[in-house]
Amino acid sequence: MRHILKNRILKGVVTRHIEPELSNEVEAAGLELLTAIRKRFGRSLHVREVDTGSCGACESEIISANNPIYDLQRFGINFVASPRHADALLVTGPVSKNMLIALKKTYDAMPEPKFVITFGDCALDGGIFKNSYYVEGVIKDILPVALHIPGCPPNPAIMIKSLLAFLKEQ
C-alpha cells in the first residue's frame, strides 16, 4: 500500500506525460471526440474488437489507446466484452478463412444500429497478406464497413483522430 501511495503521488496525472505537442493534439482531438459522441450516441460509444488473423501489433495499439496516457475511455469510447453490448465492431487482421464464420457470427450478435470499423492495413484488403491462399481479404465484401483506420499498426493518436474525423462528417 505504501508503495502504491508513493507512486500514485509521484506519477500524478499521466494523461499529459507524452511529448507536449502530441499531448495537446490528443487532448484537443479527444475533447472534440467527446462532444461528437455525446451528440450522436447520447453518452458513449461501445466497441467490440475482433481479431481475424492479425499479427498482434494492432491489438497492442488498441490496448495502448486504453492505457492511462491516452485513456480513450475518458472521451466516451468503451471496449466491451460482448458483441451484444456493442455499437461498433472493430476488425483487425486480414480475415483468415478460419475466422470468417466467427466474424459473421460476432457481427450478427450485435444489436442494431451498428457499424463496422476496420483497423490496420491488413483489415482493409489483406495488406501484406493479400493474395494468400488462406486470406479472404477485403472485409468490405463481407460486412458493411463505415470507417477504415490506416497504418501498420495505426497508433493511438491516429485512432483518435480518425474516429473524430469520421464522427464529424456524419
Binding site: E49, G53, G56, E59, G93, M99
Partner: protein, 525 residues
C-alpha cells in the same frame, strides 16, 4: 560430445547406412543426410545425446528439380553453439517418413503440420488431425505448401474431433475463438470435474494466413517486411532471425555498429513485452494499479522505440547487411536518459507487486510446470528458464552478448511467480545490456553494407522475448526465396500451458495464460 565424435558415434550406430555430412555447412550448422530407414533412429539418438527437443521439423518440395520431397529435422547443440540438421529424401509417389512423435513429444505438432501442408505421411503418428487448415473450411486433398499448388480445389470437407475426458461429473467448458478481451483468437476446451481442470484441449489456426507460402518467390527486402508481420509483438526478433539466415547465405559480415544497434533494439522489444506481461499478470488477478503503472512504462518504451527508429514496433529497421537507422550521439543520450527512468519505474513496479501479500499468494504455486514435464514436451525460452531449464540463445550462441557478459536468468518452481520473476530480472538485465551496447556505438561508423546475392540455405535464429525464434531459409541465385520455415517459440510452448493449468481452477486460467503470453499469429503462421 564433440562434432566429429557425434558423427562417428552416429556412424557406428548405423553401420549399414552411410550417414553423410554436408561439407558446405556454416560453422554453426552440422548437416547430416540419412536414409529413410535410419532417419528415425538418428533423430532419436541425437535427441538423447543432445537432450534437445525437436527445434524444427519441416518438409521441402523438390519435385520439380530432383523428383523428391526432403524432410529436415533440427536439434540444438547448446554446448557447442551449433544446430544439427538431419535430412532424408522421400519419393513423391509414396511420400512418407517414420514418425518420431511416440518417442519425442515435441515432434508431434510438426509432423501434423507436414502432413496437412504437403500431404506427406508421418507413418505411426497417433494423431491425424489437422492444425491450421481447419477441416470445416478447407477441403481435403489441398496441400498449399506444395510447389504446384495454385488454388484451392473444392472437395469433401470434414469435422474436427476433440479429445474428450469421460466419466460421471466431468463437464466441458469451451472458450473462444473470439475472447472477451482485446486479444487474438484461439479455442480452449476445458474438461473439469468439480473445480480443478483435468484436461485442456487447445485448437488454434484461427490466425493462419499462409505466411510461409507468401515468402516464396520474393526478394529479401520484401520478405523482411513479411517477417515483421508474423508476430507483431516480436517484429524485431522475427526480422532479425530472418536476416540472420539471409546474411549467412550471402556471406556478409555486418558492421559492428549495426550489430550493437540490433542488440539494443532486441532488448528494448524484450523490455516492453516483459513489462506488459508483468502488468498483465497483475490485472488478471484484479490488481489494477500496478497494471496501469506497467502500461505507462510500456508506452514510454514504445515512444522511445519511435524516437530511435521511427516505428513503435521496430519495423523497417533490419536490412540484409545491416540496419537502416543510425543512432547518433543525440539518439544515444535520449536512449540512456529514458532508460534510466524506465529502469527506476520497473523497480518500483516490482516492489509494489512484491509488497502485496495477497498478490504473491495468488501467483505462488499457481500454474506450475515441472521441469521434467517441460523437458518432455520440449518447452523453450522464457517458460523453460522459469522451470529451471538453462536455455537461452543469448548465452549459448552469444555473438555480441559475450563481451557484454550476459547473465542468464532461471528459476526453479515453474509457476506463475517464477515466470514473473524471470521477467522482472530479465528486464533489469536488458537495461544493463543496452547500456553496454550503447557504449560501443561509435559516431559516424557505417551501419550497413550491400550484400551480393547467392543461392543457399541456412538457419537464422535469435532469442526473442518469448524464446528462440527460428527461420530456415532457402534461396535461389537471384536471392529470391524458395522456402521459408518459421518456428516461433509459441509453437512449442502452447503445449506447456496445457500442462501447467492442470489441477488449477478455471478462474486462474487467465493469469496462467498471461504468464506464458504466447502468440496466436506466431503459432498459426
Amino acid at each position: 560430445m564433440d562434432h566429429p565424435e557425434i558423427v562417428s558415434h552416429i556412424r557406428d550406430k548405423f553401420p549399414g547406412d552411410r550417414v553423410s555430412l554436408d561439407p558446405h555447412a556454416y560453422p554453426d550448422e552440422l548437416r547430416m543426410h540419412a536414409s529413410p530407414e535410419s532417419f528415425k533412429g538418428v533423430c532419436l539418438e541425437l535427441h538423447k545425446i543432445l537432450s534437445s527437443p525437436v527445434m524444427m521439423l519441416f518438409a521441402l518440395d523438390e519435385r520439380a528439380k530432383l523428383n523428391k520431397f526432403v524432410i529436415n529435422c533440427v536439434f540444438a547443440d547448446m554446448k557447442k553453439s551449433r544446430w544439427i540438421i538431419v535430412s532424408m529424401d522421400t519419393p513423391p509417389d509414396k511420400a512418407c517418413f517414420d514418425s518420431l512423435s511416440k518417442d519425442i513429444y515435441s515432434a508431434s505438432l510438426f509432423e501434423r503440420e507436414i502432413k496437412e501442408m504437403f500431404g506427406i505421411e508421418p507413418t505411426g503418428n497417433p494423431d491425424p488431425r489437422r492444425l491450421n487448415l481447419h477441416d470445416e473450411v478447407w477441403p481435403q486433398g489441398n496441400y498449399p505448401l506444395r510447389k504446384d499448388f495454385v488454388k484451392m480445389q473444392d472437395g469433401p470437407r470434414g469435422d474436427y474431433r476433440f479429445n474428450r475426458v469421460e466419466g460421471s461429473g466431468v463437464f466441458e467448458v469451451p472458450v473462444g475463438p473470439v475472447h472477451a478481451g482485446i486479444i487474438g483468437p484461439g479455442h480452449f476446451r476445458f474438461s473439469v470435474a468439480g473445480e480443478p481442470i483435468i484436461n485442456l484441449e487447445t485448437r488454434f489456426g484461427f490466425t493462419h494466413r499462409g505466411a510461409e507460402k507468401l515468402f516464396e518467390g520474393r526478394p529479401y527486402p520484401e520478405a523482411v517486411r513479411i517477417s515483421e508481420c508474423i508476430s507483431g509483438d516480436s517484429a524485431f526478433a522475427h526480422s532479425l532471425a530472418f536476416i540472420n539466415a539471409a546474411e549467412k547465405i550471402v556471406g556478409v559480415s555486418v558492421p559492428a555498429k549495426a550489430a550493437y544497434t540490433r542488440g539494443i533494439l532486441l532488448e528494448l522489444e524484450r523490455m516492453y513485452n516483459h513489462v506488459n506481461d508483468i502488468g498483465g499478470i497483475a490485472i488478471d488477478v484484479g490488481f489494477s494499479f500496478p497494471a496501469a503503472y506497467a502500461s505507462i512504462i510500456k508506452e514510454a518504451i514504445l515512444q522511445l522505440n519511435e524516437k530511435l527508429t521511427g516505428s513503435r514496433y521496430l519495423k523497417n529497421v533490419n536490412l540484409v547487411g545491416g540496419v537502416s537507422i543510425d543512432i547518433d550521439e543525440t539518439g544515444k543520450r535520449a536512449l540512456l536518459e529514458s532508460l534510466g527512468k524506465i529502469k527506476r519505474d520497473i523497480e518500483e513496479l516490482a516492489r509494489m507487486l512484491e509488497a502485496s501479500v495477497s498478490f504473491m499468494d495468488r501467483v505462488d504455486t499457481t500454474g506450475a510446470l515441472r521441469r521434467k514435464t517441460a523437458e518432455d514436451i520440449g518447452v523453450v525460452g522464457l517458460a523453460a528458464r522459469a522451470s529451471g531449464i538453462p536455455m537461452d540463445l543469448r548465452k549459448y550462441f552469444p555473438g555480441i552478448y559475450k563481451d557484454a557478459k550476459f547473465n542468464m536468468i532461471t528459476q526453479a518452481s515453474g509457476d506463475v511467480l517464477a515466470r514473473l520473476r524471470v521477467r522482472i530480472s530479465e528486464s533489469g538485465e536488458s537495461c544493463r545490456l543496452i547500456e553496454e551496447f550503447a557504449r560501443d556505438l561509435k559516431e559516424g561508423e557505417e551501419i550497413n553494407v550491400v550484400p551480393e546475392l547467392r543461392e543457399g540455405c541456412a538457419i537464422g535464429y535469435t532469442e526473442g522475448w518469448r524464446g528462440p525464434v527460428l527461420y530456415w531459409l532457402k534461396t535461389d541465385a537471384g536471392g529470391s526465396i524458395e522456402r521459408c520455415k518459421i518456428v516461433d517459440p509459441s509453437f512449442h510452448n502452447w503445449q506447456g500451458l496445457s500442462y501447467a493449468v492442470l489441477g488449477n481452477i478455471i478462474p486462474d486460467f487467465p493469469v496462467c495464460n498471461k504468464s506464458f503470453d504466447l502468440s496466436y499469429s506466431g503459432n498459426d503462421l
